[in-house]
């Protein structure tokens, strides 16, 4: 069916007053007014100006006046408008300055929203950065990070970047009671939890919203160690690594495995054969000597960091 669309055109820089222009278009089943405007712009008059973005009634960009009422063009059916009004007329939002055609200046609208200070006034939070969600709320659940995760590729049970980042968002929220926070951290210590991540940075690279899921996982691990979950292999790795750097200035690979496995004979016997082969190849550094000049300065630096 071919319908007429009457659209208000106005370029304040050139025109003395707004004028109506009529476009004829073959309409199809399920067509929205936004679909029609896009087709007119693409096929009839490329100068027609209007705002649009999500096409799903979320962003609000395409609000305009359709048959005398303010509506979102993306969720306004051409057929229903025609049945209700017997025609389709489109204009810009009323009572706002027109920039061009259907696009208006929203500046006054936003300044009114800002004028009411539309946010909660929180009680002061304790500790620096206590309320940082590290951008996790920007996640749009696209799944790209999980699909790309190099650990998930071989370990399908791994909770993965998106879910762990989401967990961090609640761990970081000081409105959660301490007991719930502790339970949340406890539930993520086991196999498939936060300690499976290798920090390969793939999730950071592919995330389209800069959520940096890996950074959120690192913060979950830090929160775990601070909450006393310091006996998992991963936590022992971090603590042991820092201890060795504080002692030798550089990492001592001869002692690092012992820091992770602790006094566990079975695990020791598991790594022993590799250690012996490395020793024969001259790949085991001295467990007594530092490889750098002046390791005591690094020790002092890291000890200063631990002082409260």
């Amino acid at each position: 069916m071919r319908l007429a669309f009457t659209i208000q055109r106005y370029n304040p820089e050139l025109d003395s007053a707004p004028r109506d222009e009529t476009y004829h278009l073959d309409v199809t089943r399920g067509m929205t007014v936004l679909d029609a405007l896009i087709r007119i712009k693409n096929e009839v008059d490329g100068r027609l100006t209007f705002r649009h973005s999500c096409r799903s009634a979320i962003c609000g960009s395409c609000s305009m006046t359709i048959n005398g009422g303010e509506k979102l063009a993306c969720r306004t059916s051409v057929r229903k408008e025609w049945e209700r009004h017997g025609g389709i007329t489109v204009g810009p939002l009323r009572n706002l300055p027109v920039l061009k055609d259907l696009a208006v200046d929203m500046g006054s609208f936003w300044s009114k929203v800002r004028a009411v200070e539309p946010w909660l006034t929180p009680t002061p939070l304790e500790g620096e950065g206590a309320y940082q969600f590290h951008n996790v709320d920007a996640c749009i659940m696209c799944g790209a990070c999980v699909a790309a995760c190099t650990v998930h590729e071989v370990d399908k049970g791994f909770l993965g970047p998106a879910a762990l980042a989401k967990a961090y968002r609640f761990v970081a929220d000081t409105r959660e009671p301490e007991s719930a926070r502790t339970a949340r951290l406890a539930s993520l210590q086991g196999p498939t939890g936060m300690w499976d991540c290798t920090r390969c940075n793939v999730c950071v690279e592919v995330c389209p919203k800069d959520v940096q899921p890996m950074e959120a996982i690192i913060r979950l691990r830090r929160a775990s160690i601070e909450a006393g979950y310091d006996q998992t292999g991963g936590a022992r790795h971090i603590i042991g690594f820092r201890d060795l750097v504080a002692r030798f200035g550089r990492l001592n690979e001869a002692l690092m495995p012992l820091k992770v496995i602790g006094w566990n004979l079975r695990k020791f016997l598991h790594i022993l054969p590799l250690g012996l082969r490395m020793l024969l190849k001259g790949k085991v550094p001295s467990p007594w000597h530092s490889a750098m000049d002046g390791p005591e300065r690094v020790r002092a630096l890291l000890e200063r960091r631990r002082e409260p």
Binding site: V151, D196, T198, N201, E205, R221, R250, K283, P285, A300
Partner: protein
């Protein structure tokens, strides 16, 4: 005209992969690179110290930067992980004056301060961008001919690309270019930009070996005779743990893995022993034999 850098050795090249340091020192003169080693530099933290103490880890890097700054030299790294950690730290410190100030306060007790004037560059980048591939080709005495070499980039030299800004994280070229420059053929395979699993290999060996083994097998299936990596931590995973990775995935791997400067050294005609090749767990004899034969012909 020599290119002069402050050499940051990192931990592995002075610890479990001494052949990386040895082979680096064996080749850089031939490429017109002179170095002053930062013998009083610490560990960069490897991203691990930063998990517990982000500012403390930045201070470790800033301390090294301040030492290089005193020499008036940019830093050359020989470890992909060091490059990622220190490159990221340098970007953060240079772009955030408040952070730089906070970190310098940590260094104050030692009488050090970083002003944010140096750059951190991996040997691979220096070879490609500053030495130049033509100069490298001039130094090639034994063309590695029809050897198929699988590049294994490692995570931290590629990602996050916003911190590194050298190679394309999806389709990196630098290591492939260097492989071509020494007359060999780079093997293309998906695993070349994936993770070797090393950071969790001590506590989650099964997962790490599955990752490691998959990458090695993919390279081998794509025809690789040998693999090369610019990261000694990847090397430890790929070489030291290769036999276990093969058992884990039920495949016979036996793929020799070279450090970047070892590959360059072999092409320059430097004896295998001077490049520390005898220190590898996966034997490199077959590759060395091929190269030695070519040397005697040419």
């Amino acid at each position: 005209m020599m290119l002069t850098y402050a050499l940051y050795p990192g931990c592995a090249a002075k610890g479990a992969t001494p052949e990386l340091f040895q082979s680096t020192m064996a080749i850089i003169g031939r490429l017109g690179i002179a170095v002053t080693e930062l013998t009083a530099s610490s560990c960069c933290g490897a991203g691990v110290v930063g998990e517990a103490d982000p500012d403390g880890a930045l201070a470790l890097s800033a301390r090294t930067f301040a030492q290089a700054e005193r020499l008036g030299l940019d830093i050359m790294t020989i470890c992909g992980t060091c490059q990622g950690v220190m490159g990221g730290a340098n970007r953060k410190l240079k772009s955030d004056p408040a952070l730089l100030d906070r970190v310098n306060r940590i260094l104050q007790a030692e009488g050090l301060a970083y002003r944010g004037t140096i750059q951190v560059k991996h040997l691979l980048w220096i070879v490609v961008r500053e030495v130049g591939l033509e100069k490298l080709k001039d130094e090639v005495q034994v063309t590695l001919g029809d050897l198929k070499i699988a590049p294994f980039y490692g995570c931290y030299i590629l990602r996050p690309s916003g911190d590194l800004g050298f190679d394309d994280p999806e389709h990196p070229h630098s290591l492939d270019q260097v492989i071509r420059a020494v007359g060999a053929e780079p093997v293309d395979y998906g695993g070349k930009i994936k993770c070797c699993g090393f950071p969790i290999i001590l506590e989650k060996e099964d997962i790490a070996l599955a990752m490691n083994g998959a990458n090695l097998k993919e390279a081998k299936d794509a025809g690789a005779d040998v693999m090369v990596t610019p990261c000694p931590l990847c090397h430890m995973s790929l070489d030291i743990y290769q036999e276990r990775a093969g058992k884990k995935i039920g495949a016979s791997l036996n793929l020799p893995v070279l450090h970047l400067p070892q590959m360059l050294g072999l092409a320059m005609g430097i004896p295998a022993k001077d490049l520390g090749l005898q220190r590898h767990l996966v034997p490199v004899d077959a590759i060395v034999k091929v190269i030695e034969e070519r040397k005697s012909i040419s």
